[in-house]
């Protein structure tokens, strides 16, 4: 199997900026997906398992936001 190496640009400036942008994007995708899952009736334990984090971590990060959005 040939594993393609990721081409890293010579100047790190764009790659470093991309990392920050990906982190912000990951946060947005996570927030939207967790809200959707909760409104579809998922439990926090199921969401945590799908994300690969603990139930406590996902609950701490999202519960207040999701619950305040439902009010």
């Amino acid at each position: 199997m040939v594993v393609q190496s990721t081409e890293v640009p010579e100047d790190p400036v764009d790659a470093l900026a991309a990392v920050g942008a990906m982190r912000r994007l990951a946060d947005r995708v996570e927030a939207a997906a967790v809200s959707q899952a909760i409104s579809d009736g998922w439990t926090w334990a199921q969401i945590a398992e799908a994300l690969g984090v603990t139930r406590q971590a996902v609950h701490k990060k999202h519960a207040r936001r999701v619950e305040s959005a439902r009010d």
Binding site: P9, V13, D14, A15, L16, A17, A18, G20, A21, M22, R24, L25, D27, R28, V29, A31, A32, R64, R65, E67, S68, A69
Partner: protein
């Protein structure tokens, strides 16, 4: 830390915090301070309004993501998604505040003004603020010199 801040500088910090919160972000960053400073005479003299600065930041992220082949069309950056938590100050905003305070001290000023905050935000060599400003053709070095 905020006791030496002028009324205007406080208003900028509050606006930056509100903006981060209103767009569902967990941290206040330098770009939120920049947007909150959009009404300052220095930025207005460049012919840029808040909307244009916000668009420049969106474009900055779009380009950064494209470097790794990503597109975030379905996950808009400034979609209102109010965060229930009070956002914390992120690394870039902390640096901007520290640099602004230092520059104000060098100036010998007793008060910390919105202008000092802008100088602190613009002191960044890297990050979203200089990248976004470059995208709209702003010479950040020249702008720093004017403040």
């Amino acid at each position: 830390m905020f006791e030496r801040f002028t009324k205007d500088a406080r208003a900028v910090v509050h606006a930056a915090v509100s903006d981060a919160k209103a767009t569902g972000q967990s941290t206040v960053e330098a770009e939120h301070l920049l947007l909150a400073l959009a009404a300052s005479p220095e930025l207005r003299s460049l012919g840029l309004d808040r909307e244009q600065l916000a668009d420049a930041l969106i474009e900055e992220e779009r380009r950064s993501l494209s470097v790794v082949g990503l597109s975030a069309e379905n996950y808009q950056q400034r979609k209102p998604a109010s965060s229930a938590h009070e956002p914390r100050f992120g690394a870039s905003a902390k640096l901007a505040l520290q640099r602004g305070v230092k520059l104000a001290q060098l100036r010998g000023g007793r008060r910390f003004r919105a202008q000092d905050l802008l100088a602190g935000v613009l002191a960044a060599e890297h990050g979203r603020v200089p990248r976004a400003l470059n995208l709209v053709g702003i010479d950040v070095d020249e702008l720093r010199g004017r403040i």
